[in-house]
């Protein structure tokens, strides 16, 4: 079928970005919660690893939530850096928009083929 793998990867990326947005939101909302440790989402590294693997069947990895360990902790045990999180929130927004654009382009390519170039 139509390059199913690519759209699969894009779908999983969208899911990962949405999860990342959720985790960042949770970090920002908990910026004043004593003892809260900031979390982040791992996906790109896992995807690169999966794509570079030598196995025949490449499996798209699940995004993983990890607690950031080696970051500065404030006196109240909280490790949220609000500036960093705001920046990441913008980054994830732009990435998401970009991904949506990419999927839309892909779909319009398929549409172009289906209508024999007259669409």
């Amino acid at each position: 079928m139509f390059d199913l793998d690519l759209s699969n990867v894009m779908e999983k990326s969208l899911d990962a970005l949405w999860l990342r947005q959720k985790v960042i939101s949770n970090n920002i909302v908990n910026a004043d919660t004593p003892g809260y440790k900031s979390k982040s989402v791992e996906f790109e590294e896992l995807l690169t690893k999966a794509l570079n693997s030598n196995s025949d069947k490449k499996v798209i990895p699940q995004a993983k939530i990890v607690t950031n360990e080696d970051v500065a902790v404030r006196e109240d045990g909280n490790s949220v850096d609000i500036d960093r999180e705001s920046l990441e929130l913008y980054r994830v927004q732009i990435q998401y928009e970009y991904m949506v654009k990419k999927i839309t382009d892909e779909l319009s390519n398929i549409r172009l083929v289906l209508t024999e170039g007259r669409g």
């Binding site: 949405w18 959720k22 939101s25 909302v29 910026a31 979390k39 939530i65 927004q93």
Partner: protein
């Protein structure tokens, strides 16, 4: 993954910060309340915030590690009283004064309350930003294929 639960994260932040603001306002309003219903001066209150965990999944119950789930925002779990000492002011003419002429005023430091208020305001703004980000992303998700 649902749009709604992401909005709830931001919303829980707004609720918590607004509640915190209520407590701060109450502290400031009562900064001179030397006598409350029980005869004691007003005691400074603080909101205790905690991360709100989502409902437990099956693997959480079974204790399977590795799949750490995102939290579900923040919540105020308790309102605690500040146990620091009251301020003693010499005001012999005050009806609330004790036999040596001292009035016990609440343990409220105006500067501290102002700082807390600013921090709550900023946090509230940050939560609004979060909600706007969710909104933008959800709106662009609706545009897939258009």
């Amino acid at each position: 993954m649902s749009f709604l639960s992401s909005l709830n994260i931001g919303g829980s932040g707004l609720t918590a910060q607004r509640f915190r603001m209520d407590i701060i306002s109450q502290n400031i309003a009562n900064s001179d309340t030397a006598e409350t219903e029980n005869g004691e001066p007003y005691i400074r209150k603080t909101a205790v915030m905690q991360e709100r965990k989502g409902t437990k999944s099956f693997s959480d119950v079974l204790g399977i590690k590795g799949k750490l789930r995102s939290g579900e925002g923040v919540e105020v779990t308790a309102v605690e009283e500040d146990e620091s000492a009251f301020k003693l002011v010499y005001e012999p003419e005050n009806p609330a004064a004790d036999e040596s002429g001292y009035v016990r005023y609440p343990n409220i430091d105006m500067v501290k309350e102002m700082m807390d208020m600013m921090s709550a305001t900023r946090a509230y703004q940050a939560d609004i930003t979060v909600i706007n980000a969710v909104k933008t992303m959800a709106a662009s998700a609706l545009k897939i294929g258009k």
